[in-house]
């Protein structure tokens, strides 16, 4: 299952990253040299073994940063942290067939995505670091040798695979070095932020029915190293900062309704102003109060308008995961779009692309920015849909039929092996409608379908999708703020308890028009290779027919006693 969650859930643990203006350095990075020396030393021996290694790569995710959190006006967390996490990849056999090949009908088929983290010394001590690299490489090589024998046995006893492309693409090595971002060069006044974060979170005290409310800020600089036995030598910076608020209110029937708001920027001084943060928090509080007594929505089928943020998640779930190339190589994958290249899958006016090199959209910094992916491949803009026609897929260094090369989308969380993942998804239309035009069309469609209202999905917390064959290839987008837009001119009405569900092809065929405001959902996508930062950028989208179901609901009664807010 693939998930897309708002940053706020993971802000304390997930490394996010982008860097706007990298500078190429002439100075050698000592760690890069150490990694390079050891990978060369290891490869020189391991390539000569009976089961030869043909590719070894070291990734190091070095980070430092700060997290601050406050609940209901009280500081609950404020700490800095740093780490240097090593991930080793050893490929044995040959690019044609290696240890990362899918094991069919084996429950441990995901084992190539195993999670293995090792903290390297903080100090640059060549011997200590090389010893850690040596042991991790030795363990990874032994694991690889064991796996390749299983792969060969599996290939020999199973039917021929539909996609006979190699397991790996050997590309020309990339070399790229950025200077480190010095901690003192980034302004982050801890005391000032603590004060602000406490102030925002205290807004949740304004309604006694809110039983959970916090705000937080995180700032982190991630410096990512990649070296390989093929000569790749890359180091890039990914700084990120996030501000977020969350509140939860409980209705009398037990339903818990969370609302979230977050802002991302590469550096803390680019986050919204104090006034904007406060207004956003106050808006969350106001909406929570409205939700408490809002009517529960019944299952519905009819037209809906997705806000720009909701649309970003919608496209990420229903479309993005299904154009991740490597996934389509699996015999278990539903391969929704694999054979639809050249076909019209969206209205002719629409274009969808992924661009990891794009730093912002409508003035908002994008989470899914990077120069090189986690396989050392150069990031590329990929036009997936041009004028409604499917053109391409996101590719890592695992090729699929007719798509032999990486376009820089092999990504992974530190400690995990990369697979094809999304970056910055951007939806565009050549037939941009105004907000009024798009709302009018929503109302027209509702009338046409004999519905008293259509839906407006204003805010979402994330979503998930399944792309396999054993379970229905479906998606679920989890809205948090939903309105009925009445056909008779009544004001929009807030409702609660709605999930937006469906299957991808059916839903895609229902996309009618786009326009109105443009927006970004910055978040963290969770899938086989862990959590990676991504963005979904889109205008508002009108869908002719959507389907909703009732959201699962807590059976716990509301709090028996009132929230104690006395100060002494």
């Amino acid at each position: 299952m693939k998930t897309f969650t708002n940053l706020r859930f993971l802000a304390l643990s997930i490394v996010l990253g982008v860097f706007l203006f990298p500078r190429v350095s002439l100075a050698q990075d000592k760690l890069l040299d150490i990694l390079q020396e050891e990978v060369n030393r290891e490869f020189a021996v391991l390539k000569t073994q009976e089961t030869p290694a043909y590719y070894i790569a070291y990734r190091v995710d070095e980070s430092y940063g700060y997290n601050i959190l406050a609940h209901f006006g009280a500081l609950t967390y404020s700490d800095e942290g740093k780490s240097k996490i090593l991930t080793v990849t050893v490929r044995v056999g040959s690019p044609k067939l290696d240890n990362f090949h899918e094991l069919r009908d084996v429950s441990s088929g995901m084992s190539s995505y195993y999670f293995s983290q090792l903290n390297l010394p903080d100090e640059i001590d060549p011997l200590a670091i090389k010893n850690a690299l040596w042991k991790a490489t030795s363990d990874a090589y032994q694991e690889a040798v064991s796996k390749i024998s299983k792969v060969k046995a599996n290939v020999s006893i199973k039917v021929e695979e539909e996609d006979k492309t190699p397991d790996f693409t050997m590309d020309a090595p990339n070399k790229y070095e950025e200077q480190p971002i010095k901690p003192e060069s980034v302004k982050f006044n801890v005391a000032e932020w603590e004060k602000r974060i406490k102030k925002y979170s205290s807004e949740f005290l304004k309604d006694s029915a809110i039983f959970y409310g916090y705000s937080g800020v995180s700032y982190r600089v991630l410096r990512k190293y990649y070296v390989s036995s093929a000569g790749d030598r890359i180091v890039q910076n990914n700084p990120s900062s996030n501000f977020y608020v969350q509140g939860i209110i409980k209705a009398d029937d037990g339903m818990e309704m969370p609302l979230y708001k977050s802002f991302c920027a590469y550096f803390p001084d680019k986050l919204p102003s104090d006034k904007e943060m406060m207004l956003s928090t106050q808006k969350v509080v106001k909406n929570l109060i409205a939700l408490k007594t809002a009517p529960v929505a019944e299952p519905f089928s009819g037209p809906a308008l997705l806000s720009a943020e909701a649309s970003g998640v919608f496209f990420h779930e229903i479309f993005g995961h299904r154009v991740e190339g490597q996934r389509m190589k699996s015999e278990d994958d539903a391969q929704t779009f694999k054979k639809k290249v050249g076909e019209l899958v969206l209205p002719k006016s629409m274009t969808v692309y992924f661009d990891p090199l794009q730093t912002s959209y409508e003035g908002i910094d994008l989470n899914g920015y990077y120069k090189y992916d986690d396989q050392g491949s150069k990031a590329e803009k990929v036009n997936i849909i041009e004028n409604g026609i499917l053109k391409n897929f996101l590719m890592s260094r695992t090729p699929i039929r007719d798509f032999p090369r990486s376009n820089g989308h092999g990504r992974a969380q530190a400690g995990m092996q990369p697979v094809t993942r999304q970056s910055n998804l951007v939806v565009e239309t050549s037939d941009f409608k105004s907000t009024k035009e798009i709302r009018d069309e929503l109302i027209r469609l509702a009338k046409e379908q004999n519905r008293p209202y259509g839906y407006l999905f204003q805010d979402v917390v994330g979503g998930f999708t399944t792309t396999g064959r054993y379970m229905p290839s479906a998606f679920n987008v989890m809205p948090t703020l939903v309105y009925r837009v009445y056909t008779d001119g009544r004001p929009d009405e807030i409702v609660r308890g709605v999930d937006l569900i469906g299957t991808p092809l059916a839903m895609f065929s229902q996309i009618d028009m786009a326009g109105g405001e443009k927006g970004v959902f910055n978040g963290t996508c969770g899938a086989e290779s862990g959590g990676v930062p991504v963005s979904g950028c889109s205008p508002m989208i009108l869908v002719k027919v959507i389907e909703t179901q009732k959201k699962s609901k807590s059976q716990e009664r509301p709090y028996i006693l009132s929230r104690p807010d006395e100060t002494k």
């Binding site: 209901f72 010394p121 042991k135 006693l561």
Partner: protein, 574 residues
Amino acid sequence: MKAIKYLLAICFVVISGLSSYAQNPSEEIIFKALNDEMVRSLSSLKLGKNNPPFFIANYVSQIKLYYAKATLGALVHSKETPNYNTNLRLMVGDYSLNDENFQSNIQSYSSGGAQLSFPKEIDYAAIRRAFWSMSDRSYKRAVDSYTQKKTALKQQNKDESEKVDDYLKTAPITLLMNDIPLKYDKKVWEKNIKELSAIFRKYPKIQTSSVDIYFTSTNNYVINSEGSKIKEPVAVACLLVNASAQAVDGESLKDQLTFYCPVADQLPSLERLKQDVNKFATELEYRCSAPVIEEPFQGPVVFEGNALVELLNNKLLGESGLISSREPVYATGITGGSVNKMENKIGKRICAENISIMSVSKTKSFGDTQLIGAFDVDAEGVVPSNGLVLVDKGILKTMLSNRIPTPKVKESNGHNRFGIWGNYMKSPGVIQVSYDNGQSYNDFLKTVANETTKSGLDYFYIIRRFETSNMITSVQYGSSGLSKPVAIYKVLAKTGEEKLVRLAVISEFPMLSFKYAIAGTTEQYVCNTMRWNSIPISYIAPKAIAFNDVSIEKDNAPKSKCPVVESPLAALSK
């Protein structure tokens, strides 16, 4: 209704550190917030026809931790992390029948999933909100459990005489102790662990190594509805040396050296530590090419030093040993888990008649060694009995207990311990093991050698160290309940010649084996250790005890291949 049993009332008013103890403003706020929310919950937390809780204990642990790690002379980590942990114990029903002990005998503390974090800065309202959130969830869960438990009991046909109260009432206690400050010189300790870890640069056969320090100081604050008010500090300074190597046949060799004491400045000197680390590394390298045990063995085995403490800690004082355990009430159709049946042996022999065991949990030092297992009060407000005889000349007298009585251990002797991470569990504190008619170490070895010869054997084994779990590594426990011996020596009975061997496991060590002690030493060994990396424990025991009929066999666990590439250390040493 059966009469409620009252424990002996021990009413202390600020019994320890009275002369110097001064409650600081933060503590006043913590206690007031805990009390105010507890009082409100006791009176008003009510759902329909269900009664409010009859017992609440609110816990706050203020944890200060300094953790640092170095490998091969390079610093990996060095940071002090302050933290708070909160717990709440809430019961509905009454002392004779409550919601606990249903389906599981794990006490129903509410922690971990607290919806609202404890504030980093002391804040009265925020503390109350944290406990408000926990109290609500705990109460609803307790009401549910209590209702189900009563239904289950109605369906069971239990003899009235078998019934035991669910919880013992105890007199309130006020015990407010001074902090144990977390004092250390960060720069000095960073330098120390770098120097210690750099020693391994001289040992190229050792594949991985690290030196870690954990200095903790935790203040546990408790307030309960019986009127108890406690502040008890728990402090442990720990230095861990971990290393691993691989024998020529691929056997994975892991070993560790641990030093525990209450505070950092009581750890051994750097020079002494360096000597110990050098010796440890030399032995580990030697083990790489040590001979493998040749044949299965059943006969006398000496457990010496740390190995004896591990044996006692894992077996005799472990979960199936001298720690009382109440059998839960199970719903119809639910099969019970494992319950310690040891109490059925009270009054019977469980050890050789030379062996006696006492709990002396208030003993703070022994000789020059400060005992980390010592404590003044447990997490349920019970002062531990000092000099509590558990085993007298081999006969089981009683067991370590908390306030949940069992059919044969009906009183608490105060062993629901505070851990260093703000957790609580039944555990020993300070255990003193004695061996009547003990001998000097040399005579002891002669006795074991004679017994070996009498048994028709040429040799016996001495085990000086097991692989043990610590904060860095976890180990596998075999079917014997013991981990792999890492310092095991084959000793020829005739000559006393010792030879280090490897690839050995103890295939079985049933409780029955404690009856077959051959000899023990007069010389004593003092050892601080930890249970589940959380509860500090101390042992005062003979240096060595030998048991007969212990089975040792070759470890048949799969072995990995040795690394193909030479290690950077080995390459450098050429």
